[in-house]
């Protein structure tokens, strides 16, 4: 028994209310449910967990950083500006200073008890021959150095400066820039530059961090200008790009959705000469959006902003069901809403099933964002479907007589095209031409950098910061695996012998146990010739008592620990754990080139050492997008096959083949549209093609199932096509490349689907109906 109208309306209201409450609760919750991180689109389960963590660690390190430059022609004003900037950063919530370039002297305390394990490559080589003479010479050289008379090094603890040499061999994070408190000072030509190595707390892709950073940058610019009016402030970092992407996406979603809704409103009022359908269509669409959002937020902890952006497309699709109902009700004078709902149910149901099938296949791409789009879309469509078929008849029972004639005229366009042989031939010709041209010109581009919205100002500032700092690091790094940390470090050392440019690698701080044992061997030989050392020093006029504390320390030397010991606890070296990934089957370290290296050169260098792999995050991500696209292509073909079988089984050979022709023509138009506008085919265009497939099948079902009621089916399809074209036409204007490509695919495809829908029935069937 069908529930009565108040019960249906009440249940609908309750459902919508609950969904709204759930969405609001998630948005207000402690975890930001929306991410803009393009790498979050990756199919996480298909990545090696160690590689995934390494990429994550590398990105996290990059994402947390916000290098800020304060520049002026004169040193003093620059210092004033920098001082002001420093105090602003110190007061800012969620921001602090990066300690990656901590003064090497600060490391001395950790290394001093283990000093007889550390030698630079150069010192180790020099100590190999005649260690006593070499050591005595080094002690004298150290004592004779002007640095020696000014406390450079630590003469009694490290008379030859070997530990000092090791400590000062640590890689400088910003070559050419000298540490000045928490900041760095350097020059850019004649200009003085202060670098503030700001570190942000939290992910660069989270909204609160982006908002905090925006406020901080505003304060920095105004505060520095107050202290130094002519100072220039430059900043870069992943957070700035992520914030720009989010702003752009949010702005576009708002405007595109608003324009899309406005278009639909105009069309509905014009077509039905009544505002009443609007009162129902808008809540129906809203129901779809709310239900889709609630579902996707229930299934996924974090949802990519693109899911919501693509979700706006629901407006274009779900209105089809409402149009079908309105056109049915308006065109059948005197018919009740329940009777109309019953009449259109098979077509709408088949449309829902096949569209859901097309969307459902997205889950097999293995890509989270596409699975999110699937959940969003199917739930949204289902919500609108239920609203149209069960709530509309309860609240919109009869149509006003005024709109009937106009609705019939709208449907006349399809009949006019469908009954003319010349029109059909032109449509076939256009579809074939578009398909051939599209396939001929088809270009596949999966580089993720081409998906990112352009942000020229931020890109220009980023370039200037990089040029000033002389930082050319790319997105690549070496992943070095070993059974133990020391095993990985030994391989890292071999890698460093081969690698150019130099690497920011853990083994530069803490060499492998093998190397430290080898260093200890050099000291064994040295202290075995201690008499030679004291004689050489005495001969040069230096009291041998100068090196006595060193020998006393040697007498108390401990064993050589594993490398993990240096990184354990709250040691100053614990920060270096960022470069280590511990897995169940061993340990890996991440070594980052301090300069640019091509992926090919990186791979070649990595191949020379066992257990080393060069990973270029951008290239790897692009490759994954390519794999997902290839998979989506197969799924699209599979979806077409399944839908074809459904059509054949329901409409027989002749009717089925006519039905199959429609989606093929629609896809042909899409490919032609992409080629004509110079757009490449990527994963987002593929998603568009899946959408086109779903909608074109909707049209086939609407026309075939409604062939005895073409007076209502044709207007429904026509209105649906026009509104969808409007919605996606707007999307194709987006400045986000992924969105505009998607929009063009769908616009061209829907135009094709509409034209193809006119050929779904034979001319005879048109005449009969």
């Amino acid at each position: 028994m069908t529930p009565n109208a108040p019960v249906r309306s009440g249940a609908w209201l309750l459902g919508v209310g609950l969904a709204v409450a759930w969405v609001a609760w998630r948005i207000a919750g402690p975890v930001d449910p929306v991410t803009t991180d393009i790498l979050a689109l990756l199919p996480q389960d298909r990545m090696d967990p160690v590689v995934r963590e390494a990429v994550g660690t590398a990105r996290e390190g990059f994402g947390e950083r916000l290098p800020v430059l304060v520049i002026h022609d004169e040193p003093r004003p620059a210092a004033r500006g920098a001082e002001q900037a420093e105090s602003i950063v110190r007061e800012a919530p969620g921001a602090g200073f990066d300690d990656v370039g901590r003064d090497p002297e600060a490391f001395r305390g950790v290394f001093l008890p283990h000093r007889f394990q550390f030698l630079t490559v150069s010192d180790r080589r020099r100590l190999a021959d005649d260690p006593a003479a070499t050591f005595a010479g080094d002690v004298l050289r150290s004592a004779a150095s002007p640095g020696g008379m000014l406390g450079g090094g630590n003469p009694s603890a490290d008379p030859a400066g070997y530990l000092q040499h090791h400590l000062t061999s640590f890689p400088a994070p910003y070559p050419g820039f000298a540490r000045d408190g928490a900041l760095y000072r350097g020059t850019d030509g004649d200009r003085t530059v202060y670098l503030l190595p700001v570190r942000l707390e939290g992910s660069a892709f989270s909204n609160p961090v982006q908002e905090r950073t925006g406020i901080l940058l505003d304060r920095l610019r105004s505060g520095v200008t107050d202290a130094c009016p002519d100072c220039e402030v430059l900043a870069t970092g992943a957070v700035r790009f992520a914030a720009a992407s989010r702003r752009q996406a949010q702005t576009e979603v708002f405007w595109l959705s608003s324009a899309s809704v406005a278009l639909i409103v105009i069309l509905v009022v014009a077509a039905f000469r009544s505002a009443r359908p609007l009162l129902f269509a808008v809540p129906a669409i809203g129901t779809g959006v709310v239900a889709g959002s609630a579902a996707v937020l229930a299934v996924f902890e974090q949802v990519h902003v693109l899911t919501f952006v693509f979700g706006t497309t629901l407006i274009g699709i779900s209105i089809d069901y409402a149009f079908h109902y309105f056109a049915g009700l308006w065109s059948a004078e005197g018919e009740t809403g329940s009777a109309t709902a019953r009449r259109i149910r098979p077509a709408v149901t088949l449309g829902l099933v096949t569209t859901s099938l097309a969307f459902g296949l997205l889950v097999f791409t293995g890509m989270d964002v596409l699975a999110q789009v699937m959940v969003y879309s199917i739930t949204g469509l289902l919500a609108v479907y239920l609203t149209v078929l069960f709530v509309f008849p309860a609240v919109l029972r009869r149509a006003p007589p005024a709109g009937v004639a106009r609705v019939a005229r709208i449907g006349g366009l399809m009949a006019a095209l469908g009954t003319r042989t010349s029109a059909r031939l032109i449509i076939y010709g256009l579809a074939a031409g578009a398909a051939v041209f599209g396939l001929w010109q088809a270009e596949f581009v999966d580089d993720i950098r081409s998906f990112r919205p352009a942000a020229p100002e931020i890109e220009a500032e980023d370039r200037r910061v990089r040029e000033t700092l002389g930082v050319e690091t790319g997105s690549g790094f070496f992943l070095v695996r070993g059974a133990t940390l020391d095993g990985a470090l030994a391989r890292e050392e071999r890698l460093r012998e081969n690698a150019a440019p130099p690497l920011l690698a853990l083994s530069r701080f803490v060499p492998s146990q093998t190397t430290r044992q080898s260093n200890r061997g050099r000291f064994d030989a040295l202290f075995g010739q201690w008499d030679g050392v004291t004689a050489a020093l005495a001969d040069a006029g230096l009291d041998p008592a100068f090196v006595e504390p060193y020998r006393n320390a040697w007498a108390k030397r401990g064993s050589i620990p594993e490398a993990d010991v240096f990184l354990a606890g709250d040691s100053i070296l614990a920060d270096l754990n960022r470069m280590v990934i511990r897995a169940t089957d061993g340990v890996a370290t991440v070594a980052r080139p301090l300069g640019s290296i091509s992926p090919a050169a990186g791979t070649k260098v990595a191949e020379r050492v066992d257990g080393v792999r060069y990973i270029d995050a951008v290239a790897m991500t692009s490759r994954m997008f390519e794999q997902v696209r290839e998979r989506a292509q197969v799924l699209l073909a599979a979806a077409g096959l399944v839908i074809g079988l459904i059509l054949l089984s329901r409409y027989g050979w002749r009717g089925g083949l006519r039905g199959i022709r429609a989606p093929l023509m629609a896809v042909g138009f899409s490919l032609g549209g992409l080629a004509l506008t110079g757009q490449a085919i990527n994963i987002f265009a593929l998603v568009g093609l899946i959408l086109v497939l779903g909608i074109s099948i909707d049209y086939v079902f609407f026309i075939r199932e409604g062939r005895y009621h073409l007076g209502s089916a044709s207007p429904a399809v026509t209105l649906s096509a026009i509104t969808t074209l409007g919605a996606f036409g707007l999307l194709s204007l987006s400045s986000i490349p992924a969105l505009s490509g998607f929009g063009i695919t769908v616009v061209a495809g829907i135009a094709g689907a509409f034209l193809a829908a006119t050929t779904v029935l034979s001319r005879e069937e048109y005449r009969e109906s």
Binding site: P104, S145, G152, S169, F170, L542
Partner: protein, 200 residues
């Protein structure tokens, strides 16, 4: 000792291109009559007595120095070991007896390099503005000799240097450096030649 000197002779010759050749136009100070603040280039011999904490006997060193105003200075020790230290605004290059580079240190790798470079450049070049920027300066005159006492302004400086005393007549003749850690160096300077800075 004589044997060691004999053995070191080739290295002395090796270092010669770095150390011994006087720059063109470098003339004895009495001929050049260059005012300290206009000093562009200075070459001198030095002897240094370095008192190291806890040691009874000081270390005696001697060698040559070359000061290039605005560019840095070379500190070339000849006794008791052959070693060269070239300071520039970018950092320090240590050179061995054969002229080979033993190591380089940038100022960001070792902050004390900046301290040393700035101190010696300021003291040896006689630039009053530089000295005033780095130190609190008190000056006394004793006949033709001017005695300057320098107390570092900068905290990083104070960590390593307690006080510097410079005797000039009019160019530096004696420098006493008292280290914060208790060490003390007395450097006696005999200037061989000087050259004024190039006019703009």
């Amino acid at each position: 000792m004589a044997l060691i000197r004999f053995l070191l002779l080739p290295f002395l010759i090796g270092l010669a291109p770095v150390a011994a050749t006087a720059a063109p136009d470098c003339r004895p100070p009495e001929e050049a009559a260059v005012a300290p603040e206009r000093l562009g280039h200075l070459e001198a011999r030095f002897t240094q007595t370095r008192h190291i904490p806890r040691l009874d006997r000081p270390l005696e060193l001697s060698g040559r120095m070359v000061v290039r105003a605005g560019e840095g200075f070379d500190w070339l020790v000849r006794e008791p070991i052959e070693a060269g230290y070239r300071f520039s605004p970018e950092g320090l290059t240590e050179v061995g007896a054969g002229g080979e580079v033993i190591r380089t240190l940038s100022t960001d790798e070792a902050p004390w390099v900046r301290v040393v470079a700035e101190l010696f450049s300021a003291v040896l070049s006689g630039r009053g503005d530089k000295l005033e920027r780095l130190f609190e300066v008190t000056t006394e005159s004793d006949g033709d000799t001017v005695v300057m006492e320098l107390h570092p302004r900068d905290e990083a400086f104070r960590d390593v240097v307690r006080r510097v005393r410079v005797e000039r007549n009019p160019l530096p003749t004696r420098i006493v450096i008292e280290e914060s850690g208790g060490g003390r160096s007395v450097i006696r300077i005999e200037i061989d030649c000087v050259r004024p800075e190039a006019s703009a």
